[in-house]
Symmetry: C2
Subunit: 348 residues, 2 copies
DNA sequence: TGGTACAATGACATCGATGTTATAATAAAA
DNA sequence: TTTTATTATAACATCGATGTCATTGTACCA
C-alpha cells in the first residue's frame, strides 16, 4: 500500500535507520549512500509518515487555536480575524500547523481543549481569553500543559499571555481629544460579558486623562457596547439625547465606530465636523472607510503573532520541569489620526 | 511521566487490551471490570494518546482547509470567513479537527498540501479553488488523495466540488432589476485573477436575462472588480461618466456593493432612490448596513458546510479502491430584497 | 604494525495504542 | 455430564518512524 521507510531501505539496499538519517539530514551518511537513498525515495514517491514520527518523538508540530464559545462573535469580528491571521502566519512560517477550534459553548470548549491538549493532538494552545476561561487556564498550569492566552485569563496571571494595554489606549485617545478642545466626550466601552474579568477596561485610561487635565469626567456619557456595528448606531441616538450632547465619541472597537458613523449620517450629522469619532482597533477595513476614521491602533495582528511566537518559544525551549512559562507581555497602542477628529464644532 | 494504557491496566489489574475495550465502549467487558477500569482511568487522569491511535488505525481525524496563496485576500474577505465557518462547524460537530492553512504563494501551497496530505497529517483536504490549483487537484485525483474543492478546479471537473451557481445568481438579479423597469444596469463582475478559470462568471446569467427580456445588453456597463470595498467606490465614478448613466448597479460581491453605497453617497446620490444597488453575497454584515442592501444570497456558509459534509462522507465511506469521489454539487442562490432596489428614479 | 579515533552503518527496542488470535470462564444445549 | 456456544480476557504482533548501542570500516598516529 503506502510506501514506508522499509520499502525505501530495501530498494536502496540499506537499513531503515540509514534512510531515516538521510531524511533528517544527518552528516553521518556517505555521499554515495545518500544519493542512492534519495533516488529510492524519488522512485517510490516516499513521504515519511508524520504520525509515526510524532509518536516516537512526542511532538506533533500542531498548535491549537481555541476561541471558547464565540463562534458567531468570532467569525464576524474582523478584529478576531486579525489576531488569527497574526498567529497563523507565525505558525506556518515555523512549519507548524494551526488547528482552529471554535466551540460554541463553555462545555464544548472544555471537551475541545481536552481533546486537543491532553490527548496530545497539539503541542500547545493559543487560548482566546473570555469570560469563563479562568478554570481552564488554571488547570493547564497545574498540569503543566502549554498555552499562551490572548489576554489575561485571570487578574493575577503573570505568565503566558499577551495583552493589549487598553487603559493606555484609552488614555492616548482621550488626551488627544481633550487637547483638541473636547471636554464632553461620549465613550462606548467594552461590555463585561465580552471581556475577561481580568482585563482592565480602556475607560480607566480615559478617566486618567481627564484627571490629568483637571477636567471633570462626564460619567453620564459612558455606554457599554458589544462590539457590533449595530450598537454603535444605537449609541448615537443615546448620546444625542444627552444635554449638552458630546462633541466627540470614542469607541473601544472599530466596528462600533463604523456604526457611529452610520448613525450620525442617518441623523444628518457629519462625522469630523459636527461630531468627532475615534475607533479603537484600526482594522484594515478602517483604512478604506469614508470619511477616514481616526483610531487607536490596537495591534491585533501583532497580538496574535506574538502569542504564537511566545508559545513556540515555550514549546521548543522548555527543558526544565516546573517552569512557569513565559512572562506576560503588554502591547502598547498607537494613535492614527485621519479625518474624523478635527476638534469641537466651529473650531474647524 | 505521561500515563499510558499500561499504567491503567496495571492499576486495574487487567490487560491493556481490556482497557482499550472499555475506552472504545466494547460490549465484551463485564460490568464489574468496566467499573474497575473506569475508576483507574479517573484516578490516574488518563487520556488516550491520539497519535498512537492514529498510527495504528491510519486515521487522523484531521481535515485540512487550504486556501492557496490568498493570505491577505482571505482574511479580509468576510465571504471567505462564512465559508470557513460553515466548514468549521460541520467538522467540529463530527469530532474532527480543522487544520487551517493559508500559504501565501503557489509554491508554498504545494509544499503545504504535501505536508498535510502525503505525510498523513490529515484524512482529507478542503481546497479553495483559485487560479493555479488545477495541477494540485489533478495530482490528488491521480494519487487517490481525498479532497473536496470550494468551486471547480478545472472546467471538466465532475467530482469532489461544491460550487455556487454564479450565472443563475446573475440571472436572478438581472431579471429582478429588469422587471423593476431598469434597462441600463451597471455590472461589477469578478476579475478573472480571483476566479478559477473553471468558474463561469455571473455575467453569463445577466446576459441571459436580457436576452429573455429581448432588451439589448449594455456591454459598456460591465466592469471587473477585485471584491474590495475600494473597487466598488471607484466603480461609481466610472459608471457616472457613462451616458446615459445606469439606473441600477449589481455587484458580484457584497463588499463591492458596500463600496458602491459609499461612492454614491460621496457624490450626493441616494442608493435606492437615485440609483438602485444589489449585492452578490448577502453576508451577515449586509443585513445591518444602512440602507438595507438588497442582495443575491450566495449561500457561502452552506458552501463551506456542504464541502465539509461531502468530504467526511467520502472519508468515512470509501471502501472501494479507485472510486472517483462524490459527484459535484451546485448551490442555487436566492434573492433577498431590502431597501436599495425600488425601480428607476421617479418610479418610487 | 598495532592501536586509537572517528566515520558509516545496522540490529533491535521503543513510542502507545489497537488488531489478531488464543485461551479461560461461563452458559446453553444435548 | 459432556459438548458446544458464547462471553470475557490476555498474549503478542503491529502501525512506521526514531533512539540506543553495537559493529564495521577507514584513516591517522605512534
Amino acid at each position: 500500500m503506502t510506501t514506508t521507510i522499509y520499502d525505501v531501505a530495501a530498494k536502496a539496499g540499506v537499513s531503515p535507520k540509514t534512510v531515516s538519517r538521510v531524511i533528517n539530514g544527518s552528516a553521518l551518511v556517505k555521499e554515495e549512500t545518500r544519493e542512492r537513498v534519495l533516488e529510492a525515495i524519488r522512485l517510490l514517491d516516499y513521504h515519511p509518515n508524520a504520525v509515526a514520527k510524532s509518536l516516537k518523538q512526542k511532538v506533533t508540530y500542531n498548535i491549537g487555536y481555541v476561541v471558547p464559545y464565540g463562534s458567531d462573535f468570532v467569525f464576524r469580528d474582523p478584529g478576531q480575524m486579525e489576531q488569527l491571521k497574526g498567529a497563523s502566519d507565525v505558525i506556518n512560517a515555523a512549519d507548524y500547523n494551526l488547528i482552529l477550534s471554535v466551540p460554541s459553548t463553555a462545555r464544548e470548549a472544555l471537551l475541545e481543549v481536552n481533546r486537543l491538549l491532553k490527548h496530545k493532538k497539539v503541542d500547545g494552545l493559543i487560548l482566546y481569553a473570555m469570560e469563563g476561561v479562568e478554570p481552564l487556564a488554571r488547570e493547564f498550569e497545574e498540569k503543566g500543559l502549554k498555552y499562551v492566552s490572548l489576554g489575561k485569563c485571570y487578574p493575577e496571571q503573570e505568565y503566558n499571555f499577551v495583552e493589549v494595554d487598553s487603559p493606555s489606549g484609552g488614555y492616548l485617545a482621550t488626551r488627544f481629544l481633550l487637547n483638541l478642545g473636547h471636554y464632553r466626550i461620549g465613550f462606548i466601552c467594552e461590555a463585561p460579558q465580552f471581556l475577561v474579568p481580568a482585563k482592565e477596561s480602556m475607560i480607566k485610561g480615559c478617566i486618567r486623562a481627564y484627571e490629568e487635565a483637571k477636567i471633570e469626567f462626564p460619567h453620564d456619557l459612558v455606554l457599554e457596547g458589544d462590539y457590533s456595528v449595530e450598537f454603535g448606531e444605537y449609541a448615537v441616538g443615546r448620546f444625542l439625547q444627552k444635554n449638552p450632547r458630546p462633541t466627540a465619541i470614542f469607541c473601544a472597537s472599530d466596528p462600533m465606530a463604523w456604526g457611529v458613523l452610520r448613525g450620525l449620517r442617518k441623523k444628518g450629522l457629519v462625522p469630523g465636523r459636527d461630531i468627532d469619532v475615534l475607533g479603537g482597533d484600526d482594522l484594515p477595513f478602517t483604512k478604506s472607510i469614508e470619511p477616514g476614521l481616526s483610531a487607536v491602533n490596537s495591534k491585533l495582528y501583532e497580538l496574535g503573532a506574538q502569542a504564537a511566537r511566545m508559545l513556540l518559544d515555550y514549546i521548543r525551549n522548555s527543558r526544565e520541569e516546573g517552569e512557569k512559562g513565559i512572562p506576560g507581555r503588554y502591547l502598547q497602542s498607537e494613535l492614527v489620526v485621519r479625518e474624523t477628529t478635527n476638534g469641537p464644532s466651529g473650531k474647524r
